[in-house]
Symmetry: C2
Subunit: 405 residues, 2 copies
């Protein structure tokens, strides 16, 4: 039996949504799926057992962070990331490309690869497509990604094309290099092309036809308006082979999940649910609430009535508010668990709707009630996080997460 299979369980007749099943060496994943991010070999504040209870089926690890601390050789000496961090389900590791791109002036790209300075201690490191395959083999995730170049937003068409073409060459090199390592690992391809429809279509066709069992869409959710991301996805999906799962890298929010599923995406990862939770933002079917708000001070009810997460099953909104206001560490856990469970429940609901043939109705109903954080609030948050990052030499939790995308 091959280490990786993807079968389509149902397709929406009216949209591009589909429900599928992925088999990996560490278990089955039912799509659409949201993958919480475990940047430094831990999903911040949450234990592996709690992830399982929240319905998590696969998590994402960050190659960039893990190669710097504690180092991929050390993790390999433990038999890989699964054993090291005590998570027995599937793992996907990214390539580090996005984080290196985020380092800005600390990195330099040439045809061979990328040279960068660590955000931790300024030490110099070189990543090439081949070296990334070696590191990801040491980490031992079920699904791995090749080194790519993530263009900024905005970006000139010529720069976008050059970055895309380099990425394509790097992906060919990654495919060749991967043959030296563990055949139990599955290498996805990455589609780039910035915000140029023709480049995106070209990248989707080229990478879609290469022998990658799955495809990640990179270079989106990098600061553009949401409408722009959705516009690009409408060009990409029709060019992708139907039989390969599609991972939308670094996305996203609840509304992103609901909309992007209809545009043909199967897998999602993002730090947003856990990051906004740490800042007090908790998801409900009507949108994000700020649990630190005085309105929750005496609320005997739950963060969201009917929620089946550990937090809502055991604690009042007033207690969660109290922990958040007093900055108690238990708050970060309870808030993160609530938002992770919200995302996984939403993915389950999307799957059920697709299987029942009612995805469009589910999407419209969800979007009619869910008030997303406005673009302006999102932009302000991003600026605040960036400022926090520039203001200190040592990496803070949010700086580290900025690098996750």
């Amino acid at each position: 039996m091959p280490p990786f299979t993807f079968t389509i369980d149902a397709e929406c007749p009216a949209t591009r949504a589909r429900a599928g099943t992925i088999q990996t060496p560490h278990g089955t994943i039912q799509t659409p799926i949201f993958m919480p991010v475990g940047t430094q070999a831990t999903v911040k504040s949450v234990s592996p057992e709690e992830l399982h209870v929240a319905g998590v089926q696969i998590i994402l690890g960050n190659t960039y962070h893990l190669m710097l601390r504690p180092g991929s050789e050390l993790i390999a000496s433990f038999g890989g990331l699964h054993n090291f961090m005590h998570w027995d389900g599937p793992i996907l590791t990214d390539s580090g490309g996005f984080q290196v791109w985020s380092l800005g002036h600390l990195r330099e790209v040439n045809e061979e690869g990328v040279t960068f300075k660590s955000h931790l201690d300024g030490s110099v490191h070189v990543l090439t497509p081949e070296r990334v395959m070696q590191i990801e083999a040491e980490l031992g995730a079920d699904i791995i990604l090749p080194l790519d170049i993530c263009s900024p937003y905005p970006c000139s068409p010529l720069d976008a094309q050059k970055a895309m073409e380099s990425t394509h060459r790097w992906e060919e090199r990654a495919l060749l290099a991967k043959e030296h390592y563990n055949p139990e690992q599955t290498l996805f391809g990455i589609v780039q092309g910035a915000f140029e429809p023709e480049l995106r279509q070209q990248s989707a066709r080229i990478i879609g036809n290469m022998p990658f069992p799955g495809l990640s869409i990179g270079g989106l959710s990098v600061g553009e308006p949401k409408a722009e991301m959705w516009r690009i996805l409408r060009y990409v999906t029709p060019e992708l082979p139907r039989e390969k799962p599609r991972h939308l890298l670094g996305v996203g929010s609840p509304e992103d999940l609901v909309v992007s599923v209809g545009l043909g995406m199967d897998m999602f990862d993002c730090v947003l649910p856990t990051r906004v939770a740490r800042h007090g933002g908790l998801f409900t079917r009507n949108g994000r609430v700020n649990i630190k708000s005085a309105c929750f001070r005496a609320t005997h009810g739950l963060i969201e009535e009917g929620c089946d997460c550990y937090t809502c099953q055991n604690y009042s909104a007033a207690y969660v508010h109290h922990l958040a206001r007093t900055e108690e560490q238990l708050y970060y856990r309870l808030g993160s668990i609530h938002n992770i469970r919200f995302m996984l429940r939403l993915a389950n609901q999307l799957r059920a709707a697709i299987l029942a043939g009612t995805y469009p109705e589910f999407r419209d109903e969800f979007l009619a009630h869910y008030i997303p954080a406005s673009e302006q609030i999102r932009e302000e948050q991003r600026e605040k996080w960036k400022a926090a990052r520039q203001g200190q030499a040592v990496a803070s939790t949010d700086e580290i997460e900025l690098l996750d995308g």
Copy 2:
């Protein structure tokens, strides 16, 4: 059946150690027992379920902190602290006296009670013996303490006597006031007298003869050398009635537990195990190790071989080291759980030794292997925590804990 009973299961023939059983409305406690501190309605980083798994039988809540945030009336509206924080086992609340004493220039004592300014916002509050009974009734703990005056170390004999005599008068008022509130709650008396043997003996006789079902020894572990604390305990215990449980307030470390049990103490509470864990200090049978030390970077083994805590059952020392070094929130949880389990296991072992008639051997064996943090290191840590406290207006985790003692 009375809400509170204490029965002695065994007494050591060679020392003053005893093993007992306490019944409370929320369950049974087997002594000797260590009580983790839940300052702000949460034992920092650890969930109620994890406390149960670690063998915790009773926790301590801080009246001072809870009256300020979220307020005792709010907690009362939830049916008390048990419901509010989702802990169904026994709880002991202190009186706030120790914290108010710690506020230094922010408080003023007279015969009526104590006036103080909140460390959070400078707001003025008055605590009297009667008001404390009302607040503790609202919090609803199983065991409650009366307002007392904790003398500093060192302290003149005259000041020590005046503080003790005021405390005695306040305790009489507390007993009277308590009659207006929930008879399911049990009020312990507090023995004071600073470091004057005669005052301590006098206080033990007076408070021991008042109708308190249990007794707390206050005013120790306030900066004096350990030998001084033990010297005082040797005067106190013989004066205490045998049939009442004895709680040594704000103590302590593993070695404190082992020694103090032999001096006749039954119950202990302290933030030390969770606080030192957060700073990297983890307990082993050979003493405290610093998990951040580079020597653990590649340790495939456990923090302590044979340890039955959740952390050691599931994670290598290298992984815990990695989380501590990267300041991941999961570290604070895993470290705290390890130290809490260490303290509860130690209490179990002490009990088993007393029941088996082998307490002196157990004590000597333990102390022969366990290397305690030196007085000098302890003093430096205290100074660091104090400096951290003075350096900032807003309460940090450690400042809040300083106020816990």
